[in-house]
């Protein structure tokens, strides 16, 4: 689009320069075409200016020219002709040209914004994908113990850990848009590990219809919600509780939730880095078309819901 806009002026200029370079014997021709190019460039510059300038300023400048020219030469006719021509050009073609110019400006701006957003999102995603050392070391210590007491279980737990690490490390992902299915898989691996460690204190269930697993869903967000539910909801509760991951389509949006029966939300607790990060990323990725909602279910605990536009991942 932007090349389109530039073409009249730059073409003319290019033609002028092109002619100058070609080895023609006559210098007058050369000079003429240079002048022609210069005039054309000036004309397009003037045209662009006409298109952008406001009517008020145009009127003011016209008046100024009339006074100056009229005062000096007492021959207002050429100036008047120029002014009338300007007004006609602006009225007829100015609107379109102005729109073109603003559009090209907007495209440029949008390109930059898009780039900035991509960079920002990548940075925040990496931040969110950081694996908590506490989780990793505790899990390895548990596996160490299971190797002695229950080797088959140790092996299963280690496989879960491998699965978790594979999908949680950003550099190990394949660059395709992440799907809800992948995110649920990652969370399941995490929950399998936590269930071994917390034993009877953690029951968990996933209720995500098969058909929704191919939907696009941003990476590591569900994982953050699940980790929060365990760390701030269930682990601090002596008797533990239940965690449920669910997904459905609500009003054409994909609505994914994590529900826990833990100790519940404290109004004075700081908005954690994880939640703040999700909110920022949703803003960057979906520009107001997605949201994170924290609510309190009637039976207590916490329910965190992420709503994003429903989109099937390209295969």
């Amino acid at each position: 689009m932007s090349t389109d806009q530039q073409s009249p002026a730059s073409d003319a200029a290019a033609r002028g320069r092109g002619a100058a370079v070609t080895p023609r014997p006559t210098t007058t021709r050369q000079a003429l075409s240079e002048i022609r190019g210069g005039v054309a460039a000036m004309w397009w510059g003037f045209f662009d200016w006409l298109a952008i300038v406001s009517w008020k300023i145009l009127a003011l400048i016209s008046l100024l020219i009339l006074i100056l020219v009229g005062g000096i030469y007492r021959h207002p006719t050429p100036a008047l002709t120029l002014i009338i021509a300007s007004v006609i050009i602006k009225a007829v073609a100015g609107g379109k040209r102005k729109a073109e110019l603003t559009a090209s400006e907007a495209t440029k701006r949008a390109d930059t914004e898009q780039l900035e957003r991509t960079v920002l999102e990548a940075r925040m995603e990496a931040l969110q994908a950081q694996i908590e050392p506490h989780f990793l070391f505790n899990t390895l210590a548990s596996i160490d113990q299971l190797i002695l007491t229950d080797p088959p279980r140790a092996s299963r737990m280690q496989q879960s850990l491998i699965r978790y690490l594979r999908s949680a490390m950003p550099q190990m992902r394949d660059g395709k848009r992440p799907t809800l299915g992948q995110q649920v898989g990652l969370c399941s691996a995490f929950l399998e590990i936590m269930a071994v460690r917390m034993e009877g204190r953690l029951q968990w269930a996933v209720d995500v219809p098969e058909g929704l697993r191919s939907a696009v869903f941003p990476s590591m967000m569900l994982q953050t919600l699940v980790e929060n539910a365990i760390k701030h909801g269930l682990e601090p509760k002596a008797e533990g509780g239940r965690l449920e991951i669910g997904a459905q389509i609500v009003d054409g949006q994909l609505s994914v939730h994590v529900l826990d029966t833990g100790i519940g939300f404290m109004p004075k607790s700081e908005i954690g880095v994880g939640l703040a990060n999700i909110r920022e990323r949703l803003k960057v990725l979906y520009n107001g078309r997605a949201e994170l909602i924290i609510s309190v279910p009637p039976e207590g605990g916490t329910r965190a819901t992420i709503n994003v536009p429903y989109e099937i991942a390209a295969t």
Binding site: H134, F137, A141, A238, F265, M266, S295
Partner: protein, 257 residues
């Protein structure tokens, strides 16, 4: 303390595997030590220490109900405390100053042997009250140490049939309306029962300003302040067409610099 008899210990960790691990390895490293009790949280650990009067308590740092640091604070001076942790760089730094010992999970037999040797030495004396160390630790871990005043960060409000937790950073303003207070965000409004004069005490004064008997506005949401025909200051808020009057008492808030 019955130190003439075989030494006794309790082990506290919320994960059973971790309790089994430490108990199993202690048995190898120190066969005479008898484990007299197991606790799954800090509260239970304190109760066990009080009722069984063991010589040593092995406490996991992160536990539900009451964490290991808080539990240690309660029983300091009554028992020799050894902290057990999977990963905590701050805690480890503090332990290295030598007041009590720590064990890193999974406990390596060689490291555990050193701990046991140290404990044997310590058992000859009275348990350390660990005042300084515990104060440092709880400060670093954000435990019981004195913190700056906490303000409300979430407002619990009904939106339709659900109770939502609305982050204060989403709220444009609060406005008293009859018996309720209206909570306005850029996308929806909700009602709460808490009156403005109670709210203002719980909100962070750096985040929210009262501009009228019936209105509290989030400072960052203020777009501009103009004057209406009666010369009264009016606040325009980003993301809402509503204009909020400033009563004379609060005029000074928007004085020109």
């Amino acid at each position: 303390m019955p130190s003439s008899l075989a030494p006794t210990a309790v082990v506290a960790d919320d994960e059973r595997l971790m309790r089994e691990q430490i108990i199993g390895r202690l048995k190898q490293a120190w066969p005479e030590l008898s484990i007299v009790g197991e606790a799954v949280n800090g509260r239970e650990a304190v109760a066990l220490v009080r009722s069984l009067e063991p010589d040593i308590a092995f406490l996991d740092i992160s536990m539900p109900e009451m964490d290991g640091i808080q539990a240690a604070q309660m029983v300091a001076g009554e028992v020799h405390v050894v902290f057990v942790t999977a990963h905590d760089e701050y805690a480890i730094k503090a332990f290295e100053q030598g007041a009590v010992d720590y064990i890193l999970k999974p406990a390596e037999p060689e490291r555990l042997a050193i701990t046991c040797q140290r404990l044997r030495e310590r058992l000859k004396g009275a348990p350390d009250p660990m005042n300084e160390l515990l104060a440092q630790l709880s400060q670093r871990l954000g435990g019981a140490a004195v913190k700056a005043r906490e303000y409300m960060r979430w407002v619990q409000a009904s939106v339709g049939a659900t109770i939502r937790m609305i982050p204060t950073s989403d709220i444009l303003f609060f406005r008293a309306e009859d018996k309720y207070t209206r909570v306005q965000t850029p996308t929806f409004e909700a009602l709460i029962r808490k009156p403005i004069k109670e709210l203002i005490d719980e909100l962070d004064p750096n985040e929210f300003w009262q501009i009228h008997r019936a209105t509290v506005v989030r400072v960052d949401a203020v777009e501009q302040v103009s004057r209406n025909l009666r010369g009264q200051q009016v606040v325009h808020v980003k993301g809402s067409p509503e204009k909020l009057e400033v009563s004379r008492t609060f005029n000074h808030l928007f004085k020109q610099m």
